[in-house]
């Protein structure tokens, strides 16, 4: 009987919700009653600047003060992160230079594959000759595990968020050719050191990194009359490749409507001819080859670059593009979209763009303008962003007070892929989108619920979640108390009244609340299932 009543109670709300479309309204009684304004600011900042709050984070931030905490996050080198470093120690490829990776993880011999195709060798023989742990695949796999470990455990949360943001902005695809060997070094050398530095430094570092040179084909780009003098392509006319030039303007700096023409694309491509990779399969180092370079004059978005500039042509192009007002606006828009809303407020974009122009693209300065803005702390922005799959996975582990080793990191990376975001494997140069409509679809939503269930039920053996600790101090014979506690720690009491009602109704389900043998009432609340429901709830998909 209880079951029926509970279901009906949950459903009357359901029937009401199925009515005509209404604008999204925040029930003020549900939200502000739960949290005073200052506490909400802390929660909001934790949700946006980190991969989600862990149990106790809120209290820690409140103790040192929100603005002091933000200051620290903006200067990650001041934060001790040795525990994370220890967790990463077993991932040896993270620290290897490209040349060593190329030596340690040799390219599969095409003759072996040919032998298999002809039936002269079995797959098993191939496995023995060429074991999994020596395959280049391992480089990206360890990088994926490291990304998960850092997102879950690092104290330098804002830095991790920004590394993800900039890698995605300057995306390379770890599955394309030689990028497999370069991708780890790319994040380590080109992205991470500048994630909270200046934007022009990011453009300079990515432009000359072998990963970007290979991914967007600039390493092949040469003056139109250049004939390859040696190697397997000897005698071929390599020609101009516009791929990098186009993406540099469209995706990295000016934006697609930033005011450049096809003519500018060709001119920028000419400027970057000769920026290539030295012995891609042995050294994998940047080199400028004057023989491939087009020495003539170029004109880029109205700026003349005189003939004979050599390698300096590309550097001059970066200077022109990173000083362009379109770049300031394009970046401001992307940052505001990440931290504030899918529909970035124009007034805030203008202020962040002005900061870019005034500081030469100083990233912490731009972020500070966002974090201190009324748009950031406004009602419209509160829990308005849908978590990307990776943000969802990491935040779920953090919310349960979890930690992981490398193997668990790989399993969680697979979970992120199942929900739609395989790490380092976005094929197009646009990277992954930062808008809700891209991530919210039927299969992905079921995958989120199934992940919540698997995680809370302990089906990720190398991921430790602390469910008992999470509800420590509450009476496990009182399901309502357990639920209150879970809602407080996982969604900081921000569950809407409907969600709370549905979850309360679940408490009457005998499969969730097992009856004890004595007559003193329910016992052994199935904390895992309740926690799974909270993590799979609409509220927890938001940040």
């Amino acid at each position: 009987m209880l079951l029926v009543l509970g279901a009906l109670a949950g459903c009357s709300a359901a029937a009401g919700g199925a009515g005509p479309a209404q604008p999204r309204v925040v029930d003020p009684s549900a939200v502000s009653a739960a949290q005073p304004a200052a506490d909400r600011q802390i929660l909001h900042a934790l949700n946006r600047l980190t991969y989600g709050p862990r149990p106790g984070d809120f209290e820690r931030v409140r103790a040192i003060g929100l603005s002091a905490w933000i200051d620290r996050q903006l200067r990650p080198q001041m934060i001790d992160d040795s525990a994370t470093e220890r967790a990463l120690a077993e991932l040896t490829t993270l620290r290897m230079p490209i040349a060593e990776l190329l030596r340690e993880f040799p390219r599969p011999d095409p003759k072996l594959r040919e032998k298999i195709a002809r039936g002269e060798m079995t797959r098993q023989e191939m496995q023995e000759r060429y074991p999994m742990e020596k395959r280049p695949f391992r480089i990206a796999a360890e990088l994926q595990a490291a990304k998960v470990i850092r997102a879950v455990m690092s104290e330098r949360q804002l830095e991790e968020v920004m590394v993800d943001f900039w890698f995605n902005h300057f995306n390379v695809f770890a599955g394309k050719g030689d990028v497999r060997w370069y991708v780890s070094a790319y994040e380590r050398e080109a992205i991470r050191p500048h994630a909270l530095g200046t934007f022009p430094d990011l453009v300079r570092a990515t432009a000359r990194h072998p990963a970007m040179l290979f991914y967007l084909d600039n390493w092949l780009s040469a003056r139109p009359d250049f004939i390859v003098p040696a190697g397997p392509n000897r005698g071929r006319n390599a020609g101009l490749n516009e791929n990098y030039a186009r993406e540099l303007m469209e995706l990295h700096t000016l934006g697609v409507d930033g005011g450049y023409t096809q003519r500018d694309v060709t001119e920028v491509a000419r400027a970057f001819t000769g920026w290539t990779i030295d012995r891609p399969q042995i050294d994998g180092r940047f080199v400028f080859r004057p023989l491939m370079h087009d020495g003539g004059e170029k004109v880029v978005v109205g700026h003349r670059i005189p003939a004979g500039g050599g390698q300096g042509d590309g550097e001059r192009v970066i200077e022109i593009l990173t000083r362009h007002p379109s770049t300031a606006r394009f970046l401001a828009t992307k940052l505001v979209r990440r931290f504030v809303s899918d529909t970035p407020p124009p007034a805030l974009i203008a202020r962040v763009a002005a900061t870019y122009a005034g500081t030469g693209g100083d990233i912490p300065a731009m972020l500070r303008v966002i974090f201190e803005s009324r748009e950031f702390s406004g009602e419209d922005a509160y829990r308005a962003k849908i978590k990307k799959p990776f943000e969802f996975v990491a935040s779920a582990v953090r919310a349960l007070g979890g930690s992981t080793d490398a193997e668990g990191g790989s399993a969680l990376a697979r979970a992120s892929a199942e929900i739609g975001e395989p790490l380092y494997l976005a094929q197009p140069p646009t990277g992954y989108a930062d808008r809700a409509d891209v991530w919210v679809n039927a299969g992905a939503l079921l995958a989120r619920m199934n992940f919540a269930l698997a995680l809370a039920s302990g089906r990720y053996p190398h991921v430790t979640v602390e469910l008992p600790a999470l509800v420590a101090g509450t009476d496990s014979r009182s399901p309502a108390a357990v639920l209150d506690h879970l809602l407080a720690t996982i969604v900081a009491n921000e569950a809407g009244p409907e969600t709370r009602g549905v979850l309360a109704a679940q408490l009457t389900d005998p499969q969730i609340t097992r009856l004890s043998t004595d007559d003193r009432g329910p016992a052994n609340t199935d904390v895992a299932k309740l926690a799974a429901l909270v993590i799979g709830s609409p509220e927890f998909q938001r940040r």
């Binding site: 009906l8 359901a14 919700g17 999204r24 646009t430 039927a442």
Partner: protein
């Protein structure tokens, strides 16, 4: 077919919700009324060698460039050779399962088809083919999604379905396309414990009307609709035997959705493994194995659907073709034009469409590849307009046909 009865079995909570707002019942009823035309797109990822798939055996340039991987020209009554189609073109021998469809004119070939953009990057070329805008990367949605959008409203959660872990570029856009790995696994996997599924469902059923709740509700409608029609238990008909592998699995399940009358309009399936740079083989070998699965899956699909194929068209595509000449590793490198297949109701099959550009050196694109004589948008827009009744202009913005229609449909 869903009846009111299967519905009542769906459980207490659903009953109350739908008694108040019988949206699901309405949806099912209207889905059944939709005109029933289905377009299935099959993507051969990695660039299929169109010259091996549909071999131009009447062309002198073919054998010259392919000493070790060239197919033997067809010969009457000799097995294990290419299968003649019209005296000039021939199927790869592993495509033998498609021959009956060719003979009863359900299957057409479009050769020398491809993109006007010259990129040889898989990623760019796939992006262009899926968005339907060659050379433009900023297109936010895919052409198949736009095709669904132009059609009359059809309130089923199953208008557009992609079999796979993520929504492909071509179905991204504002049409609520569903991606699923398998019909059977499209559910909350809580074992026998129904309380968790009911819990999740209730969580998304009520509350504010936003993208998340809306999608959640549609998801559970889809889950329930699948359970109520028991789609995953519909067996293949007419003795159809799907080959194991990605495409066979996908097409088998797409056929289940069609037979379950869930209101499907557009379906999408991927097949990998066409990037044959090394050891591609000839009559046998790596590529032959791919063709065997490819042809076997398409033939099984047509057999399985039987008379329902009258309302279904399957179109195959690949981002570009491969070099005419083999490379130093007995494979082929990235080329330009390739061959595509169109199969199903209303198709005037048994013919190879498109102008053949020839394989003499001066006829090749950039001196090495089969030239494109049919813009893929000519083919796609003809299929979309004639089969789905969708207008071509919004599907392929910026496209102005420079050639007459192929005349693929009767």
């Amino acid at each position: 077919m869903t009846t009111r009865r299967t519905f009542l079995k769906a459980g207490g909570c659903a009953l109350v919700a739908y008694a108040a707002a019988p949206r699901f019942l309405l949806r099912t009823a209207r889905a059944a009324q939709a005109n029933g035309k289905v377009l299935v797109a099959v993507f051969q990822r990695g660039a299929v060698d169109g010259l091996s798939m549909v071999m131009p055996h009447g062309e002198a340039g073919y054998a010259a460039g392919r000493p070790s991987i060239g197919l033997q020209p067809p010969k009457r009554d000799e097995a294990d050779r290419a299968i003649d189609l019209d005296g000039f073109f021939a199927f790869h021998p592993a495509l033998a399962p498609l021959v009956p469809l060719w003979e009863n004119r359900a299957l057409a070939v479009i050769h020398a088809c491809g993109s006007p953009d010259t990129t040889r990057s898989h990623f760019d070329a796939q992006d262009y083919m899926e968005t339907g805008t060659p050379g433009v990367k900023s297109t936010s949605d895919g052409w198949l999604a736009r095709a669904v959008k132009t059609r009359p409203a059809n309130p089923t959660p199953f208008r557009a379905v992609a079999m796979g872990p993520a929504l492909p570029r071509t179905l991204q856009g504002d049409v609520g396309a569903i991606s699923m790995q398998s019909i059977e696994r499209f559910d909350v996997r809580a074992g026998s414990d129904g309380s968790v599924r009911r819990g999740f469902e209730s969580l998304y059923e009520q509350g504010v009307r936003d993208l998340l709740h809306g999608t959640g509700r549609e998801t559970f409608e889809a889950v329930k609709m699948l359970r109520s029609v028991n789609a995953s238990h519909i067996p293949p008909a007419n003795g159809a035997d799907y080959p194991r592998g990605q495409l066979g699995e996908a097409l088998r399940q797409i056929a289940q959705l069609i037979k379950a009358s869930v209101g499907l309009e557009v379906a999408f399936a991927d097949m990998q493994g066409w990037d044959t740079h090394v050891g591609q083989g000839a009559e046998r070998g790596q590529l032959a194995l791919r063709f065997r699965e490819f042809g076997g899956a398409l033939a099984a699909f047509a057999l399985d659907l039987g008379s329902k194929m009258a309302d279904v068209v399957v179109i195959t595509m690949s981002e570009f073709g491969r070099t005419v000449a083999e490379n130093g590793n007995r494979g082929t490198d990235h080329g330009h034009a390739t061959a595509m297949l169109v199969l199903g109701g209303g198709v005037r099959g048994g013919r190879v469409y498109g102008r053949w550009p020839g394989l003499a050196r001066h006829q090749l694109f950039e001196g090495r590849d089969l030239a494109v004589t049919t813009d893929f948008r000519t083919l796609f827009s003809e299929v979309a307009t004639r089969h789905l009744g969708a207008p071509a202009a919004p599907l392929f913005p910026g496209f102005r046909a420079t050639q007459p229609s192929l005349g693929l449909f009767a």
